[in-house]
Symmetry: C2
Subunit: 147 residues, 2 copies
DNA sequence: ACTTGACTTCGACATTACTTGAAGTTCTAG
DNA sequence: CTAGAACTTCAAGTAATGTCGAAGTCAAGT
């Protein structure tokens, strides 16, 4: 198994800690691509590992596959990205990740604050209040559409 | 609509920016509870707003309802929590939220780092590598079980 | 050239998190 | 007291994210 060789679906799945069915599913949904052998079997470029790692990490923090897919369009599907491509990718994702981090930090901090807030009626509780939570059904991936 | 009054399902839903069906669903799944009128209609204590706000925020950052439900067991179902209860709750969630924040920050930082890492073969890329991603199918809510 | 494990597609099934619709009941303003 | 909005339950449907099994094909070692 040469280091420059391509990966079978089984090899990639084992490296990534998921089922082959998941990789086929991602491919069907257009998040990853593969070359095929003469016989029709998938062969993944090694870059698929980085790509799928990103997918899984993003999923774990609440981003849906469609949004992830949209963001991945910046990267070339079939080869490792160039430095420029990667940089563009990273810059595009940054605001979305920061937004998600802010949601989490806000949740954490409001939890801590509310310890002492003693609010009996929630209307007077500006610490833990709906409204900052209901709003985010908007564009969402708009950062990633950039020029 | 007195401030100390209870909320109908419609009022609560409007406040929270979601459908009444979602509240009924949360109740059926045991994440929230309600009193009933003589005629069988739901009446929510105002505290349900805070509770559901928490549920929605937690969902947005990738936590499943089951885990959220587990974590909410620390809080009284039918009334506003005391200061002690809230503190216990906040402390129990803290590590889980921090973990989720670390996942996000790690993702963000690896994106930034990989810009210059120039790794051609992913095996030599310790910056963006699977393994830190595959591992977390474990207990998960174990922090929340504590004494 | 076999054999055997890994691969292929395809369709059905599973789970999570709800929404929708039907058929009927309750609450409240006038 | 009554009209109509808002509520009730229950069953079925939907979307996202996969998994599983069957039936058959490919690839790699001996």
């Amino acid at each position: 198994m040469d280091l420059n060789e391509q990966l079978t679906v089984g090899e990639a799945a084992e490296r990534l800690g998921l089922r082959t069915s998941a990789l086929r599913f991602y491919e069907e949904r257009g998040l990853i691509t593969s070359a095929r052998t003469a016989g029709g079997q998938r062969r993944y470029a090694r870059d698929v590992l980085r790509r799928v790692s990103f997918i899984r990490a993003a999923q774990q923090v609440g981003l849906p596959l469609d949004e992830i897919k949209e963001g991945l369009r910046i990267l070339p599907a079939d080869r490792a990205p160039t430095k420029d491509e990667w940089e563009h990718f990273a810059k595009a994702w940054r605001p979305r990740l920061d937004e998600q981090i802010r949601t989490l930090e806000g949740l954490r901090d409001r939890l801590a604050l509310c310890i002492g807030c003693g609010c009996q009626t929630l209307d007077s509780c500006h610490v833990f209040n709906p409204g900052d939570v209901a709003g985010r059904q908007g564009p969402g991936a708009r950062y990633l559409a950039g020029p």
